[in-house]
Symmetry: D2
Subunit: 283 residues, 4 copies
């Protein structure tokens, strides 16, 4: 890092949700560390041929992932427990979390903004729909949620005051309670995390964090991030059958539903293919 | 597996806590798989010298861990979320967990037995003491905990009935709510898990699971488990200073507190050393 | 496994290269184990909607990788050291290798078939071209290689006979010397291995092993393998710029070199895009 | 890093063996990063109680390994291939190695110093004894080894000149040929590497590297390294049977061979126990 702007990012709390934050603690390496590691593999042969940007794009495109592992990011994050539970599934990171056995849990809980109090999505079994409840109703939900949280925290402190062990007292605290951790990961695995957690299928509350982190990462490894964006975030994969359907479309200038089905794309696969076509058309 | 008793273990639910269980789904390999893998490393040279039991003990003693990785266990486990949160820190396992985004959370919650409603330990910052509350008081705590849980589940189903997205509705469910998962791990990492989670510093509620799993594992890899017990579970490590203190004790026939301090063991280190001596004396 | 054909595969040596082999030692799980693990995540909701094949394809398509980790394969492999050096880069597997410190290295070395004695590829910096040397010349190369190997093994046994430590005596043995190991990996990571090592950029000598293993794996998890083939092996990814180029082609019915360049695809990226188009056209 | 001495270490080549080196490229974190991560787990409760050194020793002693994972080291290393083959078994590191497919292998080979041309150890099946060959004989061995290496490099360049693909031409190069790589690892796993590779059972040629790296690491994380030395490097583990034998010795003031056997320590286990006693007595 040779830049005042970058130095300003480090250590600063970037707010997420109502009480959470992401704070970048330390970074090892930058775009040139990726290039440095790649050049040791490819040796003298490539030095003159490929410029740094070209090399980084080549690595990303061809899934030569190990040079991206040479860069490391460490964050301090405050987040609701239900978000932490999704996050921890990324096993390639190092974590130190606040412990409810050692210390008392804090009196901070996530309450969704009214706009995020949405109905169950029909299309997406795992998510919320685009529709919020009517204002009045969602206001009530949010108010009631906050009231429940305060009730639970009072229950908790009641048990603590009676000297019940912290590790027992906390078991009725809700998943909306905030925790915090240090989280360290290499750039390759961070990109994987960002891809999954910035996706529109990811729960909104983790997406907020992922997007904030992406904003930071982009500034420390601009070339790598650009490649990630072009090839991974904004690219699309097509199966063999989908390639056949694309071929049909290119050759015939049109692609009817019956063509798609004749090619063998049915049900969800057909639906997802058409979504990709729409994405492509809208580019 | 060549044994009816072993076959009977597989698939059976072994109850843990009030609503949980451990169920062994599948096993790959046994003691002979460890020996088989070790022999490929050591080649012809060792075949005649070391019997299987001796070889397994040698591997365990000298931390030659890779042959133990050749055995794999897969479990189906139902457990409270706060236990799952400790468990998931073992990153070397494969996991598929029930999802509160896809499905409704179930109406089952962990309530400690009265005897486990204990006060905060003074000696052990992370745990409960040996003392339960008076019967009457702990009965009330337990009753109140259960009542809170039912209240929270009613809140949850209330939100679900109003068609609020599952992923939002569940955020005020407590850490005592049950979840379940498939969990697959190799024997080396399973031993590491068991060592940490059968330890008396581990929270009681995860220890219950670890002990049940140890009972099963022991039957599938009896020689490896015996070695694990002798060298890891029931062994002790001594630091350089502790070895000096042992030497003093052996040479002089006694070891006074001032000797321990003169050697450099102070505070917690002195205290932990004396606990080890007590353990040794009580063997 | 409920099938005689599968049982016959286990334990059998499938020859690879001149002295190597792949031998499947054990398998944990099959297609239904993938489905079983996925269903625990998705809960009751999906059971009726998606059939097994549909579910497995959905998982593969959407990179829900953890259910594939619930299946485990263990192989016994004999391979030249230079192949082992590429292979070991896959860090998610468990390995026990023959040790040249414990045992004498064996008198077996890989000599390429004449047809594989090829010139350096110009297009592919890391590989051989499609052109073999003239028969006579390649015969000489092969003969000389074998002679050098025998000379080196004589040197080695000469040192061993003079009681030089094995760990020193072996350092001038060549990378063509055969070694062997046990290798255990879960299906998700095995697919990743197969994707990289069956690719035409992989060195021929490791591809031979990967293809043999793919033949076996296919029989144990036919649905998962089919999905792997359709989405991963035979699918293609397109970057944002490539999608723009596809759109141009679809909309305009043609795509000139200057269009490709105008879109921003230059140099290697343009070349690789055209290769993908050719692949698509030839489907 | 706030220290000129530390800055001087970074980037400098520290020679290992005849042509190898270790070069520290970058470091993330120091002792205070370990403490920072630990404090987030233990929360407010511990801040005043334990000083930094005490906390780090507590973490090391009780195998609370995750705070040590918050420090990361990156090295550039040049090493013989047979050393690289042992090294790569540590799977938790990130690696980018020089590729003999992309680039020509260099004309540098490891030749042991005469003093290291030793006979096979009888006690240690995997290693060399303490005895070198007679000067004259070892001189001849060393000379012959170097001659073989030059012969092999000539063979290699001969094939390269005939335009044989690099990936084929290199297969008869010996394991003594030098390669290089970037290698990045967190401190917890680096300590594990150092413990295994500084051990007297490790091959001399990898020990040379491990010791050099330990010298560097010590300066960047002095408190953590001291704890590693006291608890891990210079500590000893005793099995349950060994603890019984220690108890016998303490209680009775003596421990005869028949006592050891009566306790159940036989063969290699008895031998290794006596070695530990000798170590303790010599402290």
């Amino acid at each position: 890092m040779n830049n005042d702007n970058l130095r300003e990012i480090i250590g600063k709390e970037y707010k997420c949700l109502d009480h959470g934050f992401v704070r970048l603690i330390d970074v090892m390496g930058d775009d040139s560390a990726i290039v440095q590691a790649a050049r040791v593999s490819y040796g003298r042969g490539t030095k003159t041929v490929l410029e740094d940007r070209g090399l980084i794009r080549y690595l990303m495109r061809n899934r030569h992932t190990s040079p991206f592992e040479m860069v490391e990011f460490k964050f301090h994050i405050k987040l609701p427990i239900f978000v932490a539970r999704q996050w921890i599934r990324h096993r390639t990171a190092n974590v130190n979390e606040y412990s409810g056995r050692y210390s008392e849990m804090i009196n901070e809980f996530y309450v969704p903004e009214q706009d995020q109090v949405r109905t169950q999505s029909r299309a997406n079994k795992q998510g919320r729909s685009g529709e919020s409840l009517p204002d009045e109703e969602s206001a009530k939900v949010v108010e009631q949620m906050a009231a429940v949280q305060q009730f639970l925290y009072d229950e908790y402190t009641g048990l603590i005051e009676r000297d019940i062990a912290r590790e027992i007292a906390r078991i009725n605290l809700p998943l909306s309670n905030y925790t915090e951790w240090y989280w360290k990961i290499d750039l390759h695995n961070l990109f994987h995390f960002l891809k999954l957690r910035m996706d529109h299928h990811a729960q909104y509350e983790i997406r907020v964090y992922a997007e904030k982190m992406a904003d930071m990462v982009k500034q420390f490894v601009p070339l790598a991030y650009e490649a990630f964006e072009d090839f991974t975030l904004n690219g699309k994969s097509f199966s063999r059958l989908e390639l056949l359907a694309l071929k049909h479309l290119i050759v015939n200038g049109e692609l009817l539903d019956e063509d798609i089905e004749a090619i063998g794309l049915k049900g969800r696969e057909a639906k997802e293919f058409k979504e990709k076509l729409d994405y492509l058309t809208d580019l």
